[in-house]
C-alpha cells in the first residue's frame, strides 16, 4: 500500500519534472540562441566598425603632409606641403629633371653642373618621400584616424557601451596594390625627352604615368603610386592586399615606396567572449595632376649681325633690325689704293614681318628640331600645350629690337600651380618673381642653365644676294656681293634651377667689297 502511494507520487512527479526539465531546456536553448545571436551581432558590429575605420584611415591618410624642400615648392599644396595626393607630382618633377638630364647627356649637351643637379633633385625628392612614408606607416597616425570612426561605434551586443579598439600590432601592414595601373599623374608622351622611356598607361584620351612599376631616368629609379582614376577609397580583399604587401613584395631595396593600401585590425571583448576583425582599404585622393615643372622658363634671343669685309678682310660689324633696310656701312673707307663708300641692303629675310614666328622661319632650313625641343620643354611647364599654340604664341609676339631676350614661362595664379598659362614676355616685361632677368650674362647667358650649346641645332644653307645685297661707290672688282646664313643654337637646362632651355637664333649677313677699281 505504501509502495503504491510512493509509486503514485513518483509518477505524478515525473510529469512535473519532465515539464520543468523541458521548460528549463527551452529557456536554456533560448538563452543559448540569444547569446549566439549576440556574439554574431557583435561580430558584425566589430566588422562594420573595422570596415569604417579602415575606410577612414585610407581617406584621412591624405591629410598627412610633410614640408617639402623649396626646390619643390611649385609642386606642393597650397600650404607648401606634400602628401599622398601630390607625392606623384613631386616625383614627376624629379623625373622630368632627370629625363632632361639623360637626354642632355646622350646628346653631349650636359654641362658640368647638370649631373649633380640631377642627383640633388632626386635626393631631395627621396628625402621628402621618406619623411612622408614614415608618417604614413606610423601606427600612431593610423590609430588616430581609425578611432575617429571606429571609436564612435560600440560592440554593444557583446558588451554594452564598450568601444572597439584597434589591435596594437608591432607593424601596420601597408600594401602597394594595383601595380602596373595608372597613377594620378597625367602626362603627354611628347613631354618626355627623346631617348628616354617612360612607363605610361593610356586610359581614354589620357595618358598616366604608370604606378608601381619602377622606371629609370639618369640611372635612377622612379616609382609612382597607383591611384585609379575616378575611384573612391574602398575596401579590398585580404588576398589582394597580401599579394601586394610592402614588406613581402617590396618594389625597392629601401622599402619606402609610398603605399596606397592600409590594413586595420580591431577587437572587442567582454572578458569571456572576444571578437576580432580585419579590413583592408585602398586609398585614392580623387585628384589628378599634370606631370610638370611648373616654375620653369625658356629664353629666346636673336641677334642679327652684318659683317662688312673689304678685300675679304673684316672691316666692321653692324647689328641690324628685323626689317629690310639700306645701310651705309662704311663711310669714306680708306683702302690702300682709294677711298670707298660701302652700302648694303640687309634684313631682307624679314620682309614677311618681325614676329618671332617670322624670325624663326627666316631660316631657310627645317626648324622642326628646334620647335620639337622648345615644345618638349614648354610641355614640362604645361603638358597640354601644343605645337599649334606655340606657333600662335610666336606669331603674336613682335620682336622688339630694344629687347635682348624673351622669356617663355607658365603664368599660374592658382595657389597650387595647377593652372598654367604659357606666356612670352620680354626681359623688361612683367615677369614672375621667380625669374630674375638680372642674372643673365651676355657671355655665359643664364647661369641657371646647366647645359651647353654644342653644335647648332639648325643651320641654314648660305644664300648669296638673295636676302642681302651689297654695292659700293666707286664700283669695285669683283662686284660686291652679300651672303646670308643663320643658325639656331640650343642650350638646354634640366629645370633644376628653373631654366629649361635657351634658343639662340643668330643671323649672319656678310658683305664683301673690293678696293680694286
Amino acid at each position: 500500500m505504501k509502495y503504491r502511494e510512493n509509486a503514485k507520487r513518483s509518477q505524478s512527479g515525473a510529469s512535473l519534472l519532465l515539464i520543468i526539465a523541458c521548460a528549463f531546456g527551452l529557456v536554456l536553448l533560448i538563452y543559448g540562441l540569444f547569446q549566439l545571436s549576440m556574439i554574431m551581432g557583435g561580430s558584425r558590429q566589430v566588422r562594420n566598425a573595422v570596415d569604417a575605420g579602415a575606410l577612414n584611415v585610407s581617406k584621412k591618410m591624405m591629410e598627412i603632409r610633410v614640408t617639402t624642400d623649396p626646390k619643390y615648392a611649385d609642386v606642393s599644396d597650397t600650404n607648401g606641403k606634400v602628401g599622398m595626393s601630390n607625392v606623384n607630382r613631386l616625383w614627376g618633377k624629379a623625373y622630368l629633371i632627370n629625363a632632361n638630364l639623360e637626354e642632355m647627356q646622350k646628346s653631349g649637351r650636359a654641362g658640368p653642373s647638370a649631373s649633380s643637379n640631377g642627383d640633388t633633385a632626386y635626393q631631395l625628392a627621396q628625402n621628402v618621400n621618406d619623411q612622408l612614408f614614415n608618417e604614413l606607416a606610423s601606427s600612431k597616425n593610423q590609430d588616430i584616424y581609425f578611432h575617429q570612426m571606429a571609436g564612435r561605434r560600440t560592440a554593444n551586443l557583446i558588451n554594452p557601451g564598450m568601444g572597439i579598439d584597434r589591435t596594437k600590432t608591432a607593424s601596420c601592414p601597408i600594401a602597394l596594390v594595383d601595380r602596373g595601373d595608372e597613377s594620378n599623374l597625367t602626362m603627354q608622351p611628347t613631354q618626355i625627352p627623346e631617348g628616354v622611356e617612360a612607363g605610361k598607361v593610356d586610359k581614354g584620351s589620357k595618358s598616366y604615368m604608370q604606378g608601381y612599376v619602377p622606371m629609370t631616368a639618369n640611372n635612377k629609379k622612379f616609382t609612382f603610386t597607383s591611384f585609379h582614376e575616378g575611384e573612391q577609397p574602398h575596401l579590398i580583399s585580404d588576398s589582394l592586399f597580401d599579394a601586394s604587401r610592402a614588406d613581402k613584395a617590396p618594389l625597392d631595396d629601401k622599402g619606402t615606396t609610398i603605399p596606397n593600401a592600409f590594413r586595420q585590425f580591431a577587437e572587442a571583448s567582454n572578458g569571456q567572449t572576444g571578437v576580432s576583425a580585419v579590413a583592408s582599404a585602398v586609398a585614392n585622393p580623387i585628384r589628378t595632376y599634370d606631370m610638370a615643372i611648373p616654375q620653369s622658363y625658356i629664353t629666346i634671343h636673336v641677334t642679327n649681325i652684318s659683317i662688312w669685309n673689304v678685300d675679304n678682310k673684316f672691316a666692321k660689324a653692324i647689328p641690324y633690325n628685323f626689317k629690310q633696310q639700306r645701310v651705309h656701312g662704311l663711310k669714306d673707307f680708306q683702302t690702300p689704293t682709294r677711298v670707298i663708300n660701302c652700302f648694303g641692303t640687309i634684313g631682307g629675310e624679314y620682309q614677311a614681318g618681325s614676329s618671332i614666328n617670322v624670325i624663326l622661319n627666316a631660316l631657310k632650313a627645317d626648324i622642326n628640331p628646334a620647335m620639337k625641343k622648345l615644345l618638349q620643354r614648354i610641355q614640362c611647364m604645361d603638358p597640354k600645350f601644343t605645337k599649334a599654340k606655340l606657333v600662335k604664341l610666336f606669331e603674336q609676339q613682335q620682336y622688339d629690337p630694344k629687347v635682348l631676350r624673351y622669356y617663355i614661362f607658365a603664368a599660374d595664379h592658382s595657389a597650387d600651380h595647377t593652372d598654367p598659362n604659357i606666356q612670352m614676355v620680354p626681359e623688361n616685361g612683367s615677369l614672375p618673381p621667380w625669374i630674375d632677368p638680372k642674372q643673365w650674362d651676355p657671355q655665359t647667358l643664364d647661369p641657371n642653365l646647366d647645359g651647353i650649346s654644342g653644335t647648332p641645332l639648325v643651320t641654314e644653307p648660305t644664300t648669296t644676294d638673295q636676302f642681302a645685297q651689297a654695292d659700293q661707290s666707286p664700283g669695285g672688282t669683283p662686284q660686291p656681293y652679300a651672303t646670308n646664313t643663320g643658325v639656331m643654337m640650343w642650350k638646354p637646362g634640366t629645370g633644376f634651377n628653373k631654366a629649361v632651355g635657351d634658343l639662340y637664333v643668330q643671323r649672319l649677313t656678310q658683305l664683301y667689297f673690293s678696293s680694286k677699281p
Binding site: 521548460a23 540562441l33 545571436s37 585622393p285
Partner: protein, 143 residues
C-alpha cells in the same frame, strides 16, 4: 467478484492517472507554449534589430560615397529601396542624415517597422531604430 472489484479499482486508477498526466501536460503546455512563442518574438525582434543595423550601415555607406548632403540623402534612401518588405518587417526608412563635411563623416539613422509574428497584447508592433557612421569618401583630397 473480489478480483473484478480489484480490476475495476485498477482501471479507475489508470484513468485517473492518465487524466492527471493530461492535466499536467496541459499545464505544462500552458507554461511552455507562451515561453516558446515569446522566444519566437524575441528572436524575431533581435533579428530585425540586427537587420536594421545592417541597413543603416548600407545607407550610411551609400551616403558616404556622395559629395553633398542632398545627394547623400538621395543615395541613402535609394539604397533602402532594395529592401523587400515582409509580413514581419513591413518597412524601413531613413529617419535622418547628418552630413558633416568638416569632420568628413556622415551619420544615417533608419527606422524599421517590425510586426511580431506572435502578436501579444500591447506588443504586436515595434519600431526599431539604428544609426551608422561612415567616412565621406567622395570628397577629393585638399589641394
Amino acid at each position: 467478484m473480489q478480483r473484478s472489484k480489484q480490476q475495476t479499482v485498477k482501471a479507475h486508477g489508470r484513468r485517473s492517472r492518465s487524466g492527471q498526466t493530461l492535466i499536467e501536460a496541459m499545464f505544462g503546455f500552458v507554461i511552455l507554449i507562451p515561453i516558446g512563442l515569446a522566444a519566437v518574438d524575441v528572436v524575431t525582434l533581435m533579428s530585425a534589430t540586427q537587420t536594421n543595423e545592417q541597413w543603416a550601415e548600407t545607407a550610411a555607406r551609400a551616403a558616404g560615397s556622395c559629395t553633398c548632403e542632398n545627394m547623400g540623402s538621395t543615395m541613402a534612401k535609394k539604397s533602402l529601396t532594395r529592401f523587400v518588405p515582409t509580413n514581419i518587417i513591413s518597412s524601413i526608412e531613413m529617419e535622418k542624415i547628418k552630413f558633416d563635411e568638416q569632420a568628413g563623416q556622415v551619420t544615417v539613422s533608419t527606422v524599421m517597422q517590425v510586426n511580431m509574428p506572435i502578436p501579444m497584447p500591447l506588443m504586436n508592433r515595434f519600431e526599431c531604430r539604428a544609426s551608422a557612421i561612415q567616412p565621406l569618401l567622395a570628397t577629393p583630397a585638399e589641394q
